[in-house]
Amino acid sequence: MYTPAEFYQRDREWHPPALTPHYKTAVSRSPQYSLISLQNSSSEITGPVFGHNDIDPLDNDLLNNYAKPGENPIGPRLIAHGRVVDENGRGVPNTLVEAWQANAGGRYRHKKDTYLAPIDPNFGGCGRTLTDENGYYFFRTVKPGAYPWRNYVNGWRPAHIHFSIFGTAFAQRLITQCYFEGDPWISRCPIVKTIPDERAVDMLVAKLDENATIPLDTQCYRFDIVLRGRRSTLFENRLEGN
């Protein structure tokens, strides 16, 4: 009888809870009943597999993937890089990482964004890449600007890049946001503050990576991502329920 090795239980006190009154949109979009805990089956330990046919090699270069030939987006040139690892510290190779962000002025290329900062004609604002055999990834982009949003009347999102990561299993699927060290809006942001533990917030704050910064060219920030780890098959699983 095949019973798959499970992923470690997600620590629901580490992640933000569903109901977070200060992030107002969550109030009517949060389930009231408890989640039903499931032991992993084949439906959870499997997940989509992506390959180099799915994406273009330049998809991770936001400086160029939407710019007109010979032109560049406006803003501080930035490399965001890091490793995708699991809770056991092992690199997650060949996994799809997608990223999206506002331009340097804080404006998204989205028909629903009406912020008065201008659209940058040379900046799309999205990228994607596959991690290498060690779980390493990088994006080349511009540093996004902070932007206002209607939660409180005077609220600004700290500069951030949205990240979507797959891992190897549907149970590892994750969307998060990467902030930048030193940004005074981080500690004021109701979305950041949905995360109860300061140490968890710190995982989302990319650190200046001076050694990887390219002299006279591009600043570099390090953002490592940790996905759920998995049990070894060492221990026999007990029969569930009765």
């Binding site: 992030y23 979009r29 999206w100």
Partner: protein, 207 residues
């Protein structure tokens, strides 16, 4: 720290996908064309065997309004119950991925995707799971993606034996996972409305 202390990393915490999730995951819907191909629009591919179906619905918030900036991802086995993944025994048809990504109509909140009906899959401890599609839902205001499952109305017997459905203590709530079957212009359509909160709230899983 002694050498006996197990050292594990903590998972990166989740954050909401926000209102502009389309830019990253479905840029065409955000209003621009950037990639040679967007991912997740073709779940089953042209060679998949089995019954071709369409699955549709809305995701409704606690006030009863459709959520118009939601993004859903589907993960399913093929008609033989095989997932397109190296850890799943068996083979899938060439071009069958089993994964789909869908967003709602910005005006109505309606979403839908075309696929094949999945087969029953092996669950834990040799117990078969009824045909189902795994669903993951993110949106502005959802702090961590919500997992649920779509089961099929016409699989009465398999559903009755399904180990996951049976884990739900409140029989009344089980109905929230069952998609309703109908036909429209010769096409099989399953309706699966998700209620995030309140009366008849959809069952969500901690997987």
């Amino acid at each position: 720290m002694t050498s006996n202390t197990p050292e594990y990393l903590k998972e990166t915490p989740s954050q909401t996908a926000g209102p502009y999730v389309h830019i990253g995951l479905a840029p065409g819907a955000a209003g621009f064309d950037i990639y040679k191909q967007e991912l997740g629009w073709d779940i089953a591919g042209p060679n998949a065997k089995g019954e071709r179906i369409r699955v549709e619905g809305v995701v409704v918030d606690g006030i009863g309004s459709p959520i118009k900036d939601v993004l859903l991802e589907a993960w399913q086995a093929n008609s033989e119950g095989v997932y397109a993944h190296p850890e799943c025994e068996g083979n899938v048809e060439d071009g069958f991925r089993g994964w789909g990504r869908v967003i709602t109509d910005f005006e109505t909140g309606e979403w839908g995707f075309d696929t094949v009906k999945p087969g029953a899959t092996m669950g834990r401890n040799g117990r078969m799971m009824a045909p189902h599609i795994n669903l993951w839902i993110v949106a502005r205001g959802i702090n961590i993606g919500l997992n649920t499952r779509i089961y099929f109305e016409d699989e009465v017997e398999a559903n009755a034996k399904d180990p996951v459905i049976n884990l739900i203590e409140w029989e009344k709530r089980r109905a929230t996972l069952i998609a309703k079957r109908s036909e429209r212009d010769g096409q099989v359509v399953y309706r699966f409305d998700v209620k995030i909160q309140g009366e008849d709230e959809t069952v969500f899983f901690d997987i």
